[in-house]
């Protein structure tokens, strides 16, 4: 479905010395530096998959999406989607995809939302009957009814995003690209949008590529994730694999019988672990220890804890994906700084 092979994108960036003097100098003798925004990324997405595309700010996610949607031309490497090369057959290719950039809108700023949809209907050549069905479906999932007659410029961010997603789905695209679709939205709207994505994926078999910083998007929606950093792919696989591969963070939670016993617990010293691998926090009698099970085994942890204090209740669980990714981001940064 989607094949990306050794994709690279380089930008020229003018280096300018600070101040007026620097500006004048740059005017006559521009000094360019080449930035590798995307540096040899390869992956493949089968039909019907929801792929989470993640990475810290400036990792090159949006640049990849822009190349996949035909907006940017790669410096080298190839991508083929549904057998199309986006940059070559742009007009035909984009008929089969839907795109949402969370920070932009494809709606007509000055028109009532309803008008935008009828414009899109004509552009994409959607038959009347299909259009009606689609609108009814999108209305139901995204609750557009309450603002469909308002001009787009008067919509709130959450309304606009829902409207944008509906706009990208109107022509029943085979592939849907979502670049940060939940940015800046409240929980209810996020839920709404996730629901819509899930439904479309299940009912139409739409392939979805999603970038996000909201890791619950990933956990709730994606079967697979590709993580990139500094233009390079650092992880590609199932979420379970990620959990396995990057740090076995566990959460040990227990309820103390006596609140004064908290002072007895000195994990860091006992296990000689860094704050990155072991953290202790408590709220009254409820204590929570987050630890890396590669550094401190679960058995050691439990036996140490139980030898020191009496507990009423104890509970051990996997850390969520968010924690793993947070650690990964940090790790990448610290490796680079050394």
């Amino acid at each position: 479905m989607i094949y990306v092979n050794d994709l690279k994108k380089e930008f020229k960036k003018a280096i300018k010395e600070p101040g007026l003097k620097g500006s004048i100098k740059a005017l006559f003798k521009p000094n360019n530096e080449i930035i590798k925004a995307v540096d040899g990324i390869t992956f493949h997405v089968p039909k019907g998959e929801i792929l989470g595309f993640i990475g810290p700010n400036g990792a090159g996610k949006s640049t990849v999406i822009k190349m996949l949607t035909g907006i940017l031309t790669p410096t080298s490497g190839t991508c083929t989607i549904n057998g199309y090369v986006p940059q070559k057959d742009r007009q035909k290719y984009v008929k089969e995809i839907g795109v949402v950039f969370g920070q932009r809108t494809q709606l007509w700023w000055d028109l009532a939302l309803r008008e935008t949809y009828s414009v899109l209907k004509e552009i994409y050549d959607v038959p009347d009957k299909e259009f009606k069905q689609r609108m009814a479906f999108l209305n139901e999932v995204l609750e557009l009814d309450s603002f469909i007659t308002s001009p787009v410029r008067t919509l709130s961010l959450g309304q606009r995003m829902r409207a944008d997603i509906a706009a990208s789905l109107l022509h029943n695209p085979k592939v849907l690209f979502l670049d940060e679709p939940t940015i800046g939205l409240d929980v209810v709207v996020k839920d709404n949008i996730r629901n819509a994505i899930q439904k479309i994926n299940a009912e139409e078999g739409t392939t979805v590529i999603l970038t996000t910083h909201d890791l619950s998007d990933i956990e709730l929606l994606c079967n697979r994730i590709v993580m990139i950093d500094k233009g390079k792919k650092v992880f590609d696989g199932q979420i379970n694999e990620l959990k396995h591969e990057f740090g076995q963070m566990r959460d040990l939670q227990f309820e103390l019988v006596d609140i004064n016993n908290v002072a007895k617990l000195d994990y860091c010293e006992h296990f000689n672990a860094t704050a990155d691998d072991l953290q202790l926090s408590n709220e009254g009698v409820m204590v929570s220890v987050r630890f890396n099970s590669d550094v401190v085994s679960v058995e050691d942890m439990l036996s140490y804890t139980l030898s020191k204090v009496h507990v009423k209740d104890i509970n051990l669980k996997d850390a969520d994906i968010e924690e793993i990714i947070r650690r990964m981001y940090r790790q990448e940064v610290s490796i680079d700084e050394v």
Binding site: S62, K66, L72, F101, S118, D125
Partner: protein, 274 residues
């Protein structure tokens, strides 16, 4: 069939353009008032020029010719005005051009049809009163009706050509924003130069012969001077045919240039604003 499909794709842009222009009515009215005022300022300037000479005409223009010239130039300038440079430059600057690239339409056509929609009401509001006013004025001065339907129709054809030249010229110019990133200054410079070279500020006939000959050949005269001269009946039919041929030549050239610039520029597109 192909034409039908073409119209089905781009008609909505015209409709959207119309709805947009309705949304910004006040803007249009202010613009119109400002333009008409500057038109009258020019009128009084020329009136002063004619009053200070003893001969009834100046370089072959009588005062009433001059009035017709001023107002028809204003009308032509307004009708052939294309917002392409500004619209494209803005979209390139803030990066929203990306949103156009993900739609299955050709760029220039989207802009063209949207702009046509934007203009429709304004044209209706402005065209009839000015032509009517000019003709009444001519009739009142000379005592005979000067309106000539053949010249008027030829004027309309020339006007359409002029608009398309202007449109493609502005589109090409707008694509320069891919290289310059921000086109505000360059756009103002362009407006001034074009207004002068096209004869919108001073009739080309008033300029030194060599300069006038050169300017007559350049694309700028096709934008405004040619249709206005046709309207005023200053050209013989042979001349009109020649001038229109020149207009067609420049139109084709501009279309080719805009395609070439686009093809080159799009490869250099970089993402501004995420």
């Amino acid at each position: 069939m192909k034409f039908k499909k073409f119209m089905r794709t781009y008609r909505p842009f015209t409709r959207a353009g119309m709805l947009e222009s309705v949304a910004y009515r006040a803007n249009f009215i202010c613009f119109l008032l400002g333009e008409i005022m500057s038109c009258f300022i020019m009128f009084f300037v020329w009136k002063a020029v004619f009053n200070s000479t003893t001969s009834p005409d100046f370089m072959g223009f009588t005062m009433s010719d001059m009035v017709v010239y001023l107002f028809i130039t204003f009308l032509t300038g307004y009708l052939t005005y294309s917002d392409g440079t500004y619209a494209i430059a803005t979209e390139i600057r803030d990066g929203s051009i990306a949103m156009r690239m993900i739609k299955p339409c050709s760029f220039d056509m989207c802009f063209l049809f949207q702009e046509l929609g934007n203009k429709i009401f304004n044209v209706l509001v402005i065209f009839v009163p000015i032509v009517l006013g000019v003709e009444i004025y001519r009739w009142a001065i000379t005592g005979v009706c000067q309106f000539d339907i053949v010249h008027f129709l030829l004027y309309i054809i020339s006007l359409v050509l002029a608009y398309l030249i202007s449109f493609y010229f502005n589109v090409s110019y707008g694509f320069m924003a891919f290289y310059l990133k921000n086109l505000w200054g360059a756009d103002i410079l362009k407006e001034c130069i074009v207004n002068f070279l096209s004869g919108a500020t001073i009739p080309l006939a008033f300029m030194p012969t060599v300069l006038a000959d050169i300017l007559n050949f350049l694309p700028f005269s096709s934008l405004s001077y040619t249709p206005v001269m046709i309207y005023m009946g200053m050209y013989s039919l042979d001349e009109i045919a020649l001038r229109m041929l020149l207009q067609v030549f420049w139109l084709v050239t501009m279309i080719l240039i805009s395609k070439a610039v686009w093809n080159h520029a799009v490869k250099r597109l970089c993402s501004q604003g995420g």
